[in-house]
Amino acid sequence: MATVQFKHIVKKFGDNLVLNGVDVDIKDHEFVVIVGPSGCGKTTLLRMLAGLEEVTDGEIFIDNLLVNELHPSKREIAMVFQDYALYPHMTVEENMNFALRLRKMPKAEIGARVTEAANILQLNKFLKRMPKQLSGGQRQRVAIGRAIVRKPKVFLFDEPLSNLDAKLREEMRVEIAKLYQRLNATIIYVTHDQVEAMTLAGRIVIMNHGIVQQVGSPIEVYRKPCNLFVAGFIGSPTMNFLTGRLSSADGVSVFSNESVTLPIPAFVLPQKEALEGREVVLGVRPDDVLVEHPGGEKLSCKMDGVLEVCELLGHRENLYLKVSGQRLLATVEAFFNRSPGSAVSLCFNYQNMHVFDKATGQRISE
């Protein structure tokens, strides 16, 4: 197993700047998920690590070895592709031992490794089948198996679950998590699905426009998103954003826009950031919009709103609310028995409130 370092990676396709100075350090045995919207350069980064794209500028190290000019086959990595890339003219077994055969490994060793991987992935029954005869999930497992038998330094996963249907995706997600516990390998996993990122990752790397936005554990990036992009990208349903201006009254800073006026306590926003007249964006997750709540400590004052639409999800319910002109989404326990159009009262949970500078998009709250 190995460490991976990206040092100031730049990638250009012609004049098109895809990656603009990416620095990431990945430790031994770490499960790192690179997440971001499509076109953010995450797959390009992975493919550069695999040696499938040239590095325009910067350095990539695997186990402290500079691999920029190294051929993919010499990097001791294994990759699981988005479309699985199973060789259609080989059986499952041949697919899995292809790399080992290329390395002229002894037959006994090849057999042992394939059997072991097949046991882990429950593929024993399918070894003699062709990829065409397998279902999507089975193909996925073969693709993973092909990576496992190699015993590589680093596993690369390129959106491996995006071609599966929702139910299968959940199952495979759990499988991959189990596999990680068992292999205890260095894994780099690229996805655009933030749920996958949150559930699988030891650390998440969030990218946008070819730049790393934040690196941290799932709980860190959820609790303390460092900028507006991360705040909006992580978490489902999406965070509510309220744009407005700060002012201060009686030593307490107050947020206000046309619809909402709200005091911001000092434990949310430190005094030194609470500049008079600063344009800010307030971020509140739907879970922290409390509807018809009796009130209590560390909650904001009550506001009056109108219920526009209810979406019942089963155990939870999405409420689309409107406070004068400001639209808000709240997620509450199921069976909020009110009809659309009725008036409701709501308040925010200060403990999980985020404040961002509007101009820079950076987090300024605690």
Partner: protein, 284 residues
Amino acid sequence: MKKEMSAAAKKKRLQHLLIHAGLILVSAAFVYPLLRIFSVSLRPGDKLFSMDLSIIPAGATLISYSKLLKDTMFLHWLWNSLLITLATSFIGVSLASTAAYSFSRFRFPGKKAGMILLLSSQMIPAGMLILPLFLMIMKLKLMNTYLGMIIAYSVSSLPFSIWILKGYYDTIPRSLEEAALVDGTSQVGAFWRIILPLSTPALSIAFLFNFTTAWNEYLVARVVLFSAKQYTWTLGLFELQGQFITQWGMFAAGSMLVTIPVLCVFLYSSKWLISGLTLGSVKG
């Protein structure tokens, strides 16, 4: 309402009936010449020239076939054709398979120029290159030999083969080769172990195309080969038919022997051949 429906159905039936009638008529007209060859090949020697239109003639006999095989060098001609054709197809497809891969997978300076050269070579009238090729073969002292024929034929189908194969390679996902690279092959190894085995359908179509072109070729053979021993079957048949008065039965028998296998192969592969044709032309 119900009455109207049945009227519409009646109209439809009449329509189909007319279509069937038309198709049967045209099919008959299209197939009849082949049946005539068959019929003539079965005629007894004294009735080769008759106004008879029946398909199995009175006193049908295989005498023309046996005369063809015994008295002429027909089998030898077939053998000549087969050797020349196999060799040219093999060379042509081998060269095309790698060239098409370059065009399909890589970006390199001169790619566009190369593609334009391939396309524009299709504009050169076939008759135009026969003369210089003939003179070159003469200069190389390869007149009346297999080698001269193979040289003249080998690149004639190359542009089209490259075009078909490129179209097919384009449909193979790149990630397969990338997986192979990660698994430890070189770029050429990925081509050899992954792309070539996956391309067998396209390779056989290209082979078939090369094969039929060379197999049916007449004009180059006419000027390069001059002794009956070296003739390909096309020259041989022309010779038989040229002496119209005496050899019609043998000509028909020979035609049948050549046509039946070609027809079977063609009908079997026509679907792919056409998709190759349209793919190449539409994309161009």
